[in-house]
């Protein structure tokens, strides 16, 4: 087996890996249906149960 043949084999292995990845990546996305992505946005909404405070300043 020559060095040249080894290189060709290695190249084919890489090519095979890339092709498999290119096919599988879109497929995996198909199975990630509707995954809610985390966010850190805080959206205020009026709360219930509050009123004016009875605390008054002294003095």
């Amino acid at each position: 087996m020559t060095n040249k043949q080894l290189n060709r084999r290695t190249f084919l292995k890489y090519l095979n890996g890339m092709l498999t990845g290119a096919i599988l990546l879109p497929l995996t996305r198909l199975f990630q249906e509707n995954k809610t992505t985390p966010n850190t946005t805080v959206k205020p909404k009026e709360a219930k149960y509050y009123g004016p405070s009875n605390d008054e300043l002294a003095g």
């Binding site: 805080v42 959206k43 009026e46 709360a47 219930k48 149960y49």
Partner: protein, 324 residues
């Protein structure tokens, strides 16, 4: 300067403009009190209902469990401090409005929604709206809480909650003040209120070495349960594991857990359980009449179930709970 008072929990925080409550999630903004966590849970999981723990509610079903950041309790041993002691800006939150929580629950084939992990009182509006929609789809609503809430919001909420596990952390005011910066009396009142208003109640007592593990305290707690809410209210003794600010203490010895279990039985409680000790007999339910094994559990797993139509399969004694 306008000051408003939050009237949701017993802390009744007085807030100037721009200030947040003790829970970190309710803010005085533009003259109004605003919740910052509506529709934005930071924890979303499907748990076995036994994990809540609720042992007398739809055994072996899944509970769609949600929580937001923040809490109105500050327990030194908190198991969920990463979310409970944080404002919502410091957690990763999901965009999950009430109708989507219900849709996801149905999709996951869960029978209930659990408002849990942090104390759901602090995301009251989110829990309330979700619970209303959930009932329209025949889902149960489960609240896992410390019960430190004002009476009015609790009374308004009770019709929408089917079952609650209330964390009765100790039985002295001193314990509540030192361990949780809180108070005992309002919690006892909340437990009674829920019970009187048709909520199925189970109680959890975390036993912590040197803090609330004396025979006297455990017996006092059991007597309060029996005399006030009755012997059919399940009481879960939970084994402490070092967490958060209490890493200096050892885990509760199993012998202490067994002592508590035996005290509860000797005081006449029908359903006492030992939690966080997988494989212990105290994980299982026994018939209060004939003593036979009814539901055999190892941790959260159910191996046998002899409760048929809410009754003991052998002697037909009614076993209180929500079984179907």
């Amino acid at each position: 300067m306008k000051i408003i008072e939050c009237q949701l929990c017993k802390r009744k925080c007085n807030l100037i403009e721009g200030q947040r409550g003790d829970c970190r999630v309710r803010l005085h903004l533009d003259g109004k009190l605003q919740t910052l966590v509506y529709g934005n849970p930071c924890s979303v999981h499907i748990d076995p209902i036994e994990k809540k723990p609720l042992f007398h509610v739809l055994p072996a079903t899944g509970a769609f469990s949600i929580a937001t950041a923040g809490c109105n309790m500050h327990c030194k041993y908190c198991q969920n401090w990463q979310i409970s002691q944080r404002p919502p800006e410091e957690t990763h939150n999901y965009d999950l409005p009430p109708d989507r929580v219900v849709a996801e629950t149905l999709k996951a084939n869960c029978k209930s929604i659990a408002y849990t992990y942090s104390d759901p009182i602090i995301f009251y509006e989110y829990m309330y709206d979700t619970a209303e929609i959930a009932h329209k789809h025949n889902l149960l609503n489960l609240m896992i809480t410390a019960g430190f809430i004002e009476e009015k919001p609790l009374l308004d909420l009770c019709p929408h909650i089917d079952a609650a596990n209330v964390d009765l952390k100790g039985i002295t005011e001193e314990y509540y003040q030192k361990m949780c910066s809180s108070e005992l009396a309002p919690v006892l009142h909340a437990i009674e209120t829920m019970k009187k208003n048709g909520v199925w109640v189970e109680l959890t007592n975390l036993i912590i070495p040197t803090w609330n593990d004396s025979e006297k305290d455990i017996r006092t707690l059991c007597r309060w349960v029996k005399d006030t809410v009755g012997p059919d209210v399940p009481l879960h003794f939970s084994r402490f594991w070092p967490r958060h600010l209490l890493k200096n203490l050892p885990p509760t010895p199993v012998e202490t857990m067994e002592l508590a279990w035996n005290i509860a039985k000797s005081e006449g409680l029908h359903y006492a359980y030992v939690g966080n000790v997988p494989g212990h007999d105290g994980n299982s339910t026994f018939c209060p009449n004939d003593g036979k094994l009814l539901i055999k559990r190892i941790g959260y797993q159910i191996l046998e179930n002899h409760v048929v139509d809410g009754k003991c399969e052998f002697c037909k004694t009614e076993i209180l709970g929500i079984w179907s």
